[in-house]
Assembly symmetry: C2
DNA sequence: CGGCATCCGGGAAGATACTG
DNA sequence: CAGTATCTTCCCGGATGCCG
Protein backbone atom coordinates (compact mmCIF):
# COMPACT_ATOMS: atom_id res chain seq x y z
CA UNK A 1 0.00 0.00 0.00
CA UNK A 2 2.43 2.63 1.17
CA UNK A 3 5.20 1.05 -0.81
CA UNK A 4 2.94 0.45 -3.73
CA UNK A 5 1.94 4.07 -3.70
CA UNK A 6 5.53 5.19 -3.80
CA UNK A 7 6.33 2.80 -6.60
CA UNK A 8 3.40 4.00 -8.62
CA UNK A 9 4.46 7.54 -8.06
CA UNK A 10 7.98 6.76 -9.23
CA UNK A 11 6.61 5.23 -12.35
CA UNK A 12 4.37 8.18 -12.99
CA UNK A 13 7.26 10.56 -12.54
CA UNK A 14 9.37 8.48 -14.83
CA UNK A 15 6.72 8.47 -17.49
CA UNK A 16 6.65 12.23 -17.32
CA UNK A 17 10.39 12.42 -17.68
CA UNK A 18 10.52 9.85 -20.44
CA UNK A 19 9.85 12.18 -23.30
CA UNK A 20 9.20 10.76 -26.69
CA UNK A 21 12.06 12.51 -28.42
CA UNK A 22 12.65 13.30 -32.07
CA UNK A 23 16.30 12.37 -31.55
CA UNK A 24 17.29 15.22 -33.85
CA UNK A 25 20.09 17.74 -33.36
CA UNK A 26 18.03 20.44 -35.08
CA UNK A 27 17.25 23.08 -32.48
CA UNK A 28 13.70 23.50 -33.74
CA UNK A 29 13.14 19.78 -33.24
CA UNK A 30 14.52 20.15 -29.74
CA UNK A 31 12.05 22.96 -29.13
CA UNK A 32 9.28 20.53 -30.02
CA UNK A 33 10.76 17.99 -27.62
CA UNK A 34 10.56 20.66 -24.94
CA UNK A 35 7.27 22.40 -25.59
CA UNK A 36 5.67 20.48 -28.45
CA UNK A 37 3.16 18.62 -26.33
CA UNK A 38 -0.43 19.65 -26.37
CA UNK A 39 -1.19 22.77 -24.25
CA UNK A 40 2.45 23.43 -23.30
CA UNK A 41 2.83 26.60 -25.36
CA UNK A 42 -0.56 27.90 -24.31
CA UNK A 43 0.33 27.44 -20.65
CA UNK A 44 3.38 29.62 -21.28
CA UNK A 45 1.24 32.15 -23.13
CA UNK A 46 -1.00 32.50 -20.09
CA UNK A 47 2.03 33.23 -17.94
CA UNK A 48 3.48 35.91 -20.22
CA UNK A 49 2.24 38.76 -18.01
CA UNK A 50 3.39 37.30 -14.72
CA UNK A 51 2.74 34.46 -12.31
CA UNK A 52 -0.57 32.70 -11.96
CA UNK A 53 -2.02 30.02 -9.75
CA UNK A 54 -3.06 26.56 -10.84
CA UNK A 55 -6.71 27.42 -10.87
CA UNK A 56 -6.17 30.67 -12.75
CA UNK A 57 -4.50 28.66 -15.47
CA UNK A 58 -7.37 26.20 -15.55
CA UNK A 59 -9.86 29.03 -15.83
CA UNK A 60 -7.92 30.77 -18.61
CA UNK A 61 -7.39 27.58 -20.59
CA UNK A 62 -10.86 26.17 -20.97
CA UNK A 63 -10.54 22.59 -22.13
CA UNK A 64 -7.34 21.66 -20.34
CA UNK A 65 -7.78 18.96 -17.72
CA UNK A 66 -6.21 19.11 -14.30
CA UNK A 67 -3.90 16.16 -14.81
CA UNK A 68 -2.61 17.46 -18.13
CA UNK A 69 -1.99 20.88 -16.58
CA UNK A 70 -0.09 19.21 -13.76
CA UNK A 71 2.07 17.30 -16.23
CA UNK A 72 2.81 20.35 -18.33
CA UNK A 73 3.77 22.45 -15.33
CA UNK A 74 6.09 19.70 -14.10
CA UNK A 75 7.68 19.38 -17.50
CA UNK A 76 8.09 23.14 -17.96
CA UNK A 77 9.72 23.37 -14.56
CA UNK A 78 11.97 20.43 -15.36
CA UNK A 79 13.29 22.05 -18.54
CA UNK A 80 13.84 25.37 -16.77
CA UNK A 81 11.12 27.39 -18.46
CA UNK A 82 9.19 28.10 -15.27
CA UNK A 83 9.47 28.00 -11.51
CA UNK A 84 6.91 27.04 -8.93
CA UNK A 85 6.90 29.41 -5.99
CA UNK A 86 5.19 29.38 -2.63
CA UNK A 87 3.30 32.55 -1.88
CA UNK A 88 4.03 34.41 1.39
CA UNK A 89 2.32 32.94 4.51
CA UNK A 90 -1.22 34.36 4.50
CA UNK A 91 -1.93 32.71 1.15
CA UNK A 92 -1.07 29.05 1.48
CA UNK A 93 -0.94 28.73 -2.24
CA UNK A 94 1.55 28.38 -5.09
CA UNK A 95 2.16 30.34 -8.21
CA UNK A 96 3.88 29.40 -11.44
CA UNK A 97 6.22 31.95 -12.97
CA UNK A 98 8.24 31.86 -16.16
CA UNK A 99 12.01 32.10 -15.91
CA UNK A 100 13.78 34.80 -17.98
CA UNK A 101 14.39 32.17 -20.65
CA UNK A 102 10.76 31.13 -20.43
CA UNK A 103 9.65 34.70 -21.09
CA UNK A 104 11.63 34.65 -24.31
CA UNK A 105 9.02 32.30 -25.74
CA UNK A 106 7.15 35.49 -26.55
CA UNK A 107 9.04 35.71 -29.82
CA UNK A 108 7.77 32.25 -30.76
CA UNK A 109 4.20 33.21 -29.94
CA UNK A 110 4.54 36.34 -32.06
CA UNK A 111 5.91 34.62 -35.14
CA UNK A 112 3.49 31.70 -34.87
CA UNK A 113 0.60 34.11 -34.49
CA UNK A 114 1.57 36.25 -37.47
CA UNK A 115 1.90 33.11 -39.57
CA UNK A 116 -1.42 31.60 -38.53
CA UNK A 117 -3.31 34.87 -38.81
CA UNK A 118 -2.91 34.44 -42.57
CA UNK A 119 -4.67 31.08 -42.49
CA UNK A 120 -8.03 31.13 -44.26
CA UNK A 121 -9.31 28.85 -41.49
CA UNK A 122 -8.58 31.28 -38.69
CA UNK A 123 -11.70 32.26 -36.78
CA UNK A 124 -11.12 35.38 -34.68
CA UNK A 125 -14.57 35.24 -33.11
CA UNK A 126 -13.77 32.26 -30.89
CA UNK A 127 -13.23 32.75 -27.14
CA UNK A 128 -10.07 34.57 -26.14
CA UNK A 129 -8.17 34.95 -22.90
CA UNK A 130 -7.07 38.32 -21.57
CA UNK A 131 -3.42 37.36 -21.95
CA UNK A 132 -3.97 36.40 -25.60
CA UNK A 133 -5.62 39.70 -26.36
CA UNK A 134 -3.00 41.89 -24.75
CA UNK A 135 -0.22 39.82 -26.26
CA UNK A 136 -1.80 40.19 -29.68
CA UNK A 137 -1.44 43.95 -29.37
CA UNK A 138 2.31 43.57 -29.02
CA UNK A 139 2.34 41.16 -31.94
CA UNK A 140 0.10 42.96 -34.43
CA UNK A 141 1.05 46.55 -33.61
CA UNK A 142 1.73 48.68 -36.68
CA UNK A 143 4.30 51.34 -35.84
CA UNK A 144 3.55 53.25 -39.03
CA UNK A 145 -0.06 53.79 -38.05
CA UNK A 146 0.94 54.88 -34.56
CA UNK A 147 3.32 57.56 -35.79
CA UNK A 148 3.51 60.43 -33.35
CA UNK A 149 1.23 58.74 -30.86
CA UNK A 150 2.12 58.64 -27.19
CA UNK A 151 -0.55 57.13 -25.02
CA UNK A 152 -1.40 54.86 -22.12
CA UNK A 153 -4.35 52.60 -22.74
CA UNK A 154 -5.86 50.66 -19.87
CA UNK A 155 -7.84 47.43 -19.95
CA UNK A 156 -10.08 45.94 -17.31
CA UNK A 157 -10.88 42.35 -18.17
CA UNK A 158 -12.48 40.25 -15.49
CA UNK A 159 -10.55 41.13 -12.35
CA UNK A 160 -7.28 41.81 -14.13
CA UNK A 161 -6.01 45.13 -15.38
CA UNK A 162 -3.43 45.76 -18.09
CA UNK A 163 -1.68 48.88 -19.21
CA UNK A 164 -0.58 49.20 -22.83
CA UNK A 165 1.93 51.94 -23.53
CA UNK A 166 2.44 53.34 -26.99
CA UNK A 167 5.41 55.66 -27.37
CA UNK A 168 8.09 56.25 -29.95
CA UNK A 169 6.61 53.73 -32.36
CA UNK A 170 6.80 50.97 -29.76
CA UNK A 171 4.02 49.12 -28.01
CA UNK A 172 4.52 47.37 -24.74
CA UNK A 173 2.15 46.01 -22.17
CA UNK A 174 2.05 44.85 -18.59
CA UNK A 175 -0.42 43.55 -16.06
CA UNK A 176 -0.54 46.42 -13.61
CA UNK A 177 -2.67 49.14 -12.09
CA UNK A 178 -4.26 51.63 -14.45
CA UNK A 179 -2.78 54.78 -12.89
CA UNK A 180 -2.50 57.53 -15.43
CA UNK A 181 -4.24 55.74 -18.27
CA UNK A 182 -5.59 58.11 -20.91
CA UNK A 183 -8.47 55.80 -21.65
CA UNK A 184 -9.69 52.51 -20.24
CA UNK A 185 -11.52 49.70 -22.02
CA UNK A 186 -13.61 47.50 -19.76
CA UNK A 187 -15.29 44.32 -20.92
CA UNK A 188 -14.63 40.81 -22.01
CA UNK A 189 -11.61 40.07 -24.15
CA UNK A 190 -13.80 38.97 -27.04
CA UNK A 191 -15.64 42.29 -27.08
CA UNK A 192 -12.39 44.24 -27.21
CA UNK A 193 -11.19 41.89 -29.96
CA UNK A 194 -14.38 42.57 -31.89
CA UNK A 195 -13.57 46.29 -31.82
CA UNK A 196 -9.87 45.95 -32.71
CA UNK A 197 -9.86 43.01 -35.10
CA UNK A 198 -13.49 42.53 -36.11
CA UNK A 199 -14.12 46.11 -37.18
CA UNK A 200 -17.11 46.43 -34.87
CA UNK A 201 -17.84 50.11 -34.12
CA UNK A 202 -17.16 51.08 -30.53
CA UNK A 203 -20.49 52.85 -30.41
CA UNK A 204 -22.39 49.65 -31.14
CA UNK A 205 -20.46 47.61 -28.60
CA UNK A 206 -21.03 50.23 -25.95
CA UNK A 207 -24.72 50.42 -26.78
CA UNK A 208 -24.94 46.65 -26.40
CA UNK A 209 -23.13 47.02 -23.07
CA UNK A 210 -20.52 44.56 -24.27
CA UNK A 211 -17.88 47.18 -23.63
CA UNK A 212 -17.31 50.33 -21.62
CA UNK A 213 -14.85 53.05 -22.55
CA UNK A 214 -13.77 55.46 -19.83
CA UNK A 215 -11.76 58.53 -20.78
CA UNK A 216 -10.60 59.84 -24.13
CA UNK A 217 -13.07 58.30 -26.59
CA UNK A 218 -11.26 59.63 -29.69
CA UNK A 219 -8.06 57.98 -28.50
CA UNK A 220 -9.96 54.73 -28.04
CA UNK A 221 -11.18 54.94 -31.63
CA UNK A 222 -7.68 55.55 -32.89
CA UNK A 223 -6.30 52.70 -30.82
CA UNK A 224 -8.64 50.20 -32.44
CA UNK A 225 -7.10 51.01 -35.81
CA UNK A 226 -3.48 50.31 -34.91
CA UNK A 227 -3.52 46.52 -35.34
CA UNK A 228 -4.12 45.48 -38.93
CA UNK A 229 -4.41 41.77 -39.58
CA UNK A 230 -2.15 40.37 -42.32
CA UNK A 231 -3.85 39.44 -45.58
CA UNK A 232 -4.98 35.87 -46.01
CA UNK A 233 -2.73 33.43 -47.83
CA UNK B 1 -15.97 -6.63 -47.50
CA UNK B 2 -15.91 -4.10 -50.29
CA UNK B 3 -18.46 -1.98 -48.53
CA UNK B 4 -16.80 -2.48 -45.22
CA UNK B 5 -13.52 -1.36 -46.69
CA UNK B 6 -15.04 1.82 -48.03
CA UNK B 7 -16.74 2.54 -44.74
CA UNK B 8 -13.52 2.10 -42.86
CA UNK B 9 -11.78 4.41 -45.26
CA UNK B 10 -14.48 7.03 -44.83
CA UNK B 11 -14.11 6.86 -41.11
CA UNK B 12 -10.36 7.15 -41.38
CA UNK B 13 -10.66 10.21 -43.58
CA UNK B 14 -13.11 11.74 -41.19
CA UNK B 15 -10.81 11.20 -38.29
CA UNK B 16 -8.13 13.05 -40.18
CA UNK B 17 -10.38 16.01 -40.80
CA UNK B 18 -11.81 16.07 -37.31
CA UNK B 19 -9.13 18.11 -35.68
CA UNK B 20 -8.99 18.35 -31.94
CA UNK B 21 -9.16 22.13 -31.72
CA UNK B 22 -8.18 24.48 -28.94
CA UNK B 23 -11.27 26.53 -29.75
CA UNK B 24 -9.29 29.70 -29.14
CA UNK B 25 -9.26 32.88 -31.21
CA UNK B 26 -5.58 33.43 -30.40
CA UNK B 27 -3.67 33.11 -33.64
CA UNK B 28 -0.85 31.20 -31.98
CA UNK B 29 -3.38 28.67 -30.73
CA UNK B 30 -4.71 28.42 -34.26
CA UNK B 31 -1.19 27.75 -35.47
CA UNK B 32 -1.08 24.81 -33.09
CA UNK B 33 -4.41 23.60 -34.43
CA UNK B 34 -2.85 23.69 -37.89
CA UNK B 35 0.67 22.39 -37.35
CA UNK B 36 0.83 21.45 -33.70
CA UNK B 37 0.55 17.72 -34.25
CA UNK B 38 3.60 15.57 -33.89
CA UNK B 39 5.97 15.68 -36.89
CA UNK B 40 4.00 18.33 -38.80
CA UNK B 41 6.56 21.10 -38.40
CA UNK B 42 9.45 18.78 -39.16
CA UNK B 43 7.80 17.68 -42.39
CA UNK B 44 7.63 21.33 -43.39
CA UNK B 45 11.26 21.82 -42.38
CA UNK B 46 12.30 19.04 -44.74
CA UNK B 47 10.49 20.77 -47.58
CA UNK B 48 12.06 24.19 -47.00
CA UNK B 49 14.52 23.78 -49.89
CA UNK B 50 12.02 22.51 -52.41
CA UNK B 51 9.79 19.55 -53.22
CA UNK B 52 10.50 16.01 -52.08
CA UNK B 53 8.95 12.62 -52.60
CA UNK B 54 7.25 10.53 -49.95
CA UNK B 55 10.20 8.24 -49.52
CA UNK B 56 12.67 11.12 -49.36
CA UNK B 57 10.68 12.49 -46.46
CA UNK B 58 10.67 9.12 -44.74
CA UNK B 59 14.41 8.83 -45.16
CA UNK B 60 15.06 12.36 -43.87
CA UNK B 61 12.75 11.97 -40.88
CA UNK B 62 13.97 8.80 -39.22
CA UNK B 63 11.34 7.70 -36.76
CA UNK B 64 8.24 8.84 -38.60
CA UNK B 65 5.99 6.00 -39.69
CA UNK B 66 4.38 5.81 -43.10
CA UNK B 67 0.83 6.24 -41.88
CA UNK B 68 1.66 9.27 -39.78
CA UNK B 69 3.50 10.84 -42.71
CA UNK B 70 0.47 10.22 -44.91
CA UNK B 71 -1.81 11.88 -42.39
CA UNK B 72 0.44 14.90 -41.96
CA UNK B 73 0.79 15.43 -45.70
CA UNK B 74 -2.99 15.23 -46.11
CA UNK B 75 -3.54 17.68 -43.31
CA UNK B 76 -0.89 20.12 -44.57
CA UNK B 77 -2.45 20.03 -48.01
CA UNK B 78 -5.91 20.53 -46.52
CA UNK B 79 -4.87 23.70 -44.71
CA UNK B 80 -3.09 25.06 -47.78
CA UNK B 81 0.49 24.79 -46.56
CA UNK B 82 1.58 22.37 -49.26
CA UNK B 83 0.54 20.93 -52.61
CA UNK B 84 0.89 17.41 -53.91
CA UNK B 85 2.04 17.39 -57.52
CA UNK B 86 2.39 14.68 -60.10
CA UNK B 87 5.78 14.63 -61.73
CA UNK B 88 6.00 14.80 -65.55
CA UNK B 89 5.39 11.46 -67.39
CA UNK B 90 8.71 9.59 -67.25
CA UNK B 91 8.62 9.60 -63.46
CA UNK B 92 5.27 8.18 -62.38
CA UNK B 93 5.77 9.67 -58.98
CA UNK B 94 4.50 12.46 -56.77
CA UNK B 95 6.21 15.26 -54.97
CA UNK B 96 5.11 17.46 -52.09
CA UNK B 97 5.86 21.15 -52.30
CA UNK B 98 5.17 23.96 -49.87
CA UNK B 99 2.93 26.80 -50.96
CA UNK B 100 4.26 30.37 -50.66
CA UNK B 101 2.47 30.62 -47.33
CA UNK B 102 3.93 27.27 -46.33
CA UNK B 103 7.43 28.55 -47.01
CA UNK B 104 6.82 31.38 -44.57
CA UNK B 105 7.01 28.83 -41.77
CA UNK B 106 10.75 29.40 -42.01
CA UNK B 107 10.40 32.31 -39.62
CA UNK B 108 8.81 29.98 -37.07
CA UNK B 109 11.61 27.44 -37.44
CA UNK B 110 14.18 30.20 -36.97
CA UNK B 111 12.67 31.65 -33.81
CA UNK B 112 11.95 28.23 -32.32
CA UNK B 113 15.50 27.14 -33.06
CA UNK B 114 17.11 30.21 -31.52
CA UNK B 115 15.00 29.74 -28.42
CA UNK B 116 15.72 26.05 -28.00
CA UNK B 117 19.42 26.41 -28.75
CA UNK B 118 19.61 28.08 -25.33
CA UNK B 119 18.20 25.01 -23.62
CA UNK B 120 20.72 23.26 -21.38
CA UNK B 121 19.23 19.98 -22.58
CA UNK B 122 20.01 20.58 -26.23
CA UNK B 123 22.31 17.94 -27.68
CA UNK B 124 23.84 19.09 -30.96
CA UNK B 125 25.59 15.76 -31.55
CA UNK B 126 22.38 13.90 -32.43
CA UNK B 127 21.66 12.99 -36.05
CA UNK B 128 20.82 15.87 -38.36
CA UNK B 129 19.23 16.10 -41.79
CA UNK B 130 20.79 18.09 -44.60
CA UNK B 131 17.86 20.49 -44.63
CA UNK B 132 18.24 21.13 -40.89
CA UNK B 133 21.91 21.91 -41.25
CA UNK B 134 21.57 24.32 -44.15
CA UNK B 135 18.58 25.97 -42.53
CA UNK B 136 20.57 26.42 -39.34
CA UNK B 137 23.10 28.49 -41.27
CA UNK B 138 20.39 30.96 -42.21
CA UNK B 139 19.16 30.97 -38.62
CA UNK B 140 22.42 31.27 -36.71
CA UNK B 141 24.35 33.47 -39.14
CA UNK B 142 26.17 36.35 -37.45
CA UNK B 143 26.37 39.29 -39.85
CA UNK B 144 28.93 41.05 -37.64
CA UNK B 145 31.39 38.22 -37.99
CA UNK B 146 30.89 38.05 -41.75
CA UNK B 147 31.64 41.72 -42.27
CA UNK B 148 33.16 42.31 -45.68
CA UNK B 149 32.83 38.68 -46.68
CA UNK B 150 31.43 37.76 -50.07
CA UNK B 151 31.54 34.06 -50.81
CA UNK B 152 29.75 31.05 -52.24
CA UNK B 153 30.05 27.94 -50.13
CA UNK B 154 28.95 24.60 -51.53
CA UNK B 155 27.77 21.51 -49.67
CA UNK B 156 27.53 17.96 -50.93
CA UNK B 157 25.52 15.88 -48.49
CA UNK B 158 24.40 12.46 -49.65
CA UNK B 159 23.18 13.05 -53.18
CA UNK B 160 22.02 16.58 -52.59
CA UNK B 161 23.98 19.78 -53.14
CA UNK B 162 23.38 23.15 -51.55
CA UNK B 163 24.85 26.54 -52.25
CA UNK B 164 25.14 29.06 -49.42
CA UNK B 165 25.77 32.65 -50.48
CA UNK B 166 27.21 35.20 -48.12
CA UNK B 167 27.18 38.77 -49.38
CA UNK B 168 26.45 42.15 -47.90
CA UNK B 169 25.98 40.77 -44.41
CA UNK B 170 23.27 38.41 -45.60
CA UNK B 171 23.28 34.65 -45.78
CA UNK B 172 20.96 32.75 -48.05
CA UNK B 173 20.90 29.19 -49.24
CA UNK B 174 19.35 27.00 -51.90
CA UNK B 175 19.41 23.42 -53.05
CA UNK B 176 21.13 23.78 -56.40
CA UNK B 177 24.20 22.92 -58.44
CA UNK B 178 27.55 24.02 -57.07
CA UNK B 179 28.66 26.08 -60.06
CA UNK B 180 31.08 28.76 -59.04
CA UNK B 181 31.42 27.73 -55.42
CA UNK B 182 34.59 29.06 -53.78
CA UNK B 183 34.82 26.02 -51.57
CA UNK B 184 32.82 22.83 -51.17
CA UNK B 185 32.22 20.79 -48.04
CA UNK B 186 31.42 17.13 -48.68
CA UNK B 187 30.32 14.74 -45.97
CA UNK B 188 27.50 13.90 -43.66
CA UNK B 189 25.49 16.69 -42.10
CA UNK B 190 26.65 15.71 -38.62
CA UNK B 191 30.30 16.03 -39.61
CA UNK B 192 29.75 19.52 -40.97
CA UNK B 193 27.81 20.37 -37.83
CA UNK B 194 30.72 19.15 -35.72
CA UNK B 195 32.97 21.63 -37.53
CA UNK B 196 30.59 24.60 -37.39
CA UNK B 197 28.86 24.11 -34.03
CA UNK B 198 31.00 21.57 -32.20
CA UNK B 199 34.29 23.39 -32.59
CA UNK B 200 35.94 20.33 -34.15
CA UNK B 201 39.01 21.34 -36.18
CA UNK B 202 38.56 20.84 -39.91
CA UNK B 203 41.95 19.22 -40.05
CA UNK B 204 40.90 16.44 -37.68
CA UNK B 205 37.63 15.79 -39.46
CA UNK B 206 39.41 15.60 -42.79
CA UNK B 207 42.04 13.25 -41.35
CA UNK B 208 39.26 11.01 -40.06
CA UNK B 209 37.73 11.15 -43.55
CA UNK B 210 34.49 12.36 -42.00
CA UNK B 211 34.65 15.41 -44.22
CA UNK B 212 36.26 16.59 -47.44
CA UNK B 213 36.95 20.22 -48.26
CA UNK B 214 37.51 21.12 -51.90
CA UNK B 215 38.75 24.60 -52.78
CA UNK B 216 39.69 27.55 -50.61
CA UNK B 217 40.59 25.97 -47.27
CA UNK B 218 41.09 29.27 -45.47
CA UNK B 219 37.60 30.33 -46.51
CA UNK B 220 36.27 27.05 -45.16
CA UNK B 221 37.92 27.78 -41.82
CA UNK B 222 36.44 31.23 -41.71
CA UNK B 223 33.01 29.92 -42.63
CA UNK B 224 32.94 27.59 -39.65
CA UNK B 225 33.26 30.57 -37.33
CA UNK B 226 30.28 32.54 -38.60
CA UNK B 227 27.56 30.76 -36.63
CA UNK B 228 27.91 31.28 -32.90
CA UNK B 229 25.44 29.45 -30.71
CA UNK B 230 23.55 31.58 -28.18
CA UNK B 231 24.60 31.20 -24.57
CA UNK B 232 22.72 28.71 -22.45
CA UNK B 233 19.86 29.91 -20.28
C1' DC C 1 -10.69 25.18 -2.02
C1' DG C 2 -6.21 24.15 -4.36
C1' DG C 3 -3.30 20.63 -6.00
C1' DC C 4 -2.77 16.75 -7.17
C1' DA C 5 -3.40 11.01 -7.88
C1' DT C 6 -6.19 7.42 -9.89
C1' DC C 7 -9.07 5.04 -13.09
C1' DC C 8 -11.22 4.72 -17.55
C1' DG C 9 -12.60 5.36 -22.54
C1' DG C 10 -11.24 7.04 -26.93
C1' DG C 11 -8.06 8.19 -30.12
C1' DA C 12 -3.48 9.38 -31.93
C1' DA C 13 1.17 7.58 -32.63
C1' DG C 14 4.41 3.76 -33.59
C1' DA C 15 5.81 -0.71 -35.64
C1' DT C 16 5.18 -4.13 -38.89
C1' DA C 17 3.35 -6.38 -42.70
C1' DC C 18 1.27 -6.12 -46.86
C1' DT C 19 -0.47 -4.45 -51.64
C1' DG C 20 -0.82 -2.08 -56.29
C1' DC D 1 8.09 3.32 -54.67
C1' DA D 2 4.10 4.98 -52.43
C1' DG D 3 1.36 4.28 -49.70
C1' DT D 4 -2.60 1.09 -46.82
C1' DA D 5 -4.11 -2.21 -43.10
C1' DT D 6 -3.69 -3.79 -38.65
C1' DC D 7 -2.20 -4.20 -34.11
C1' DT D 8 -0.26 -2.34 -29.92
C1' DT D 9 1.07 1.27 -27.00
C1' DC D 10 0.64 5.44 -25.02
C1' DC D 11 -1.26 10.11 -24.61
C1' DC D 12 -5.23 12.98 -23.88
C1' DG D 13 -9.46 14.25 -21.70
C1' DG D 14 -13.11 13.58 -18.19
C1' DA D 15 -14.68 12.08 -13.69
C1' DT D 16 -13.82 11.07 -9.16
C1' DG D 17 -11.69 11.27 -4.84
C1' DC D 18 -7.93 12.13 -1.50
C1' DC D 19 -5.55 15.36 1.44
C1' DG D 20 -3.48 19.49 3.14
Amino acid sequence: MRLEKITKKRLAEKSILSVRSYDDACAAAHALDLIGERWALLVMRELMFGPKRFSDLRADLPGISANVLTQRLERLEEIGALKRRKLPPPAASHVYELTPWGYEIESVLGVLGRWAARSPLHDPTLPLSAASLILSFKTMFDARRAKGLNARIGFRIGDETFLVRIHGGKCDAARQALDGADVVFAGKATAIAAAVYGGAPLKALIAKKALAVEGDRRLAERFTGLFPLPEKA
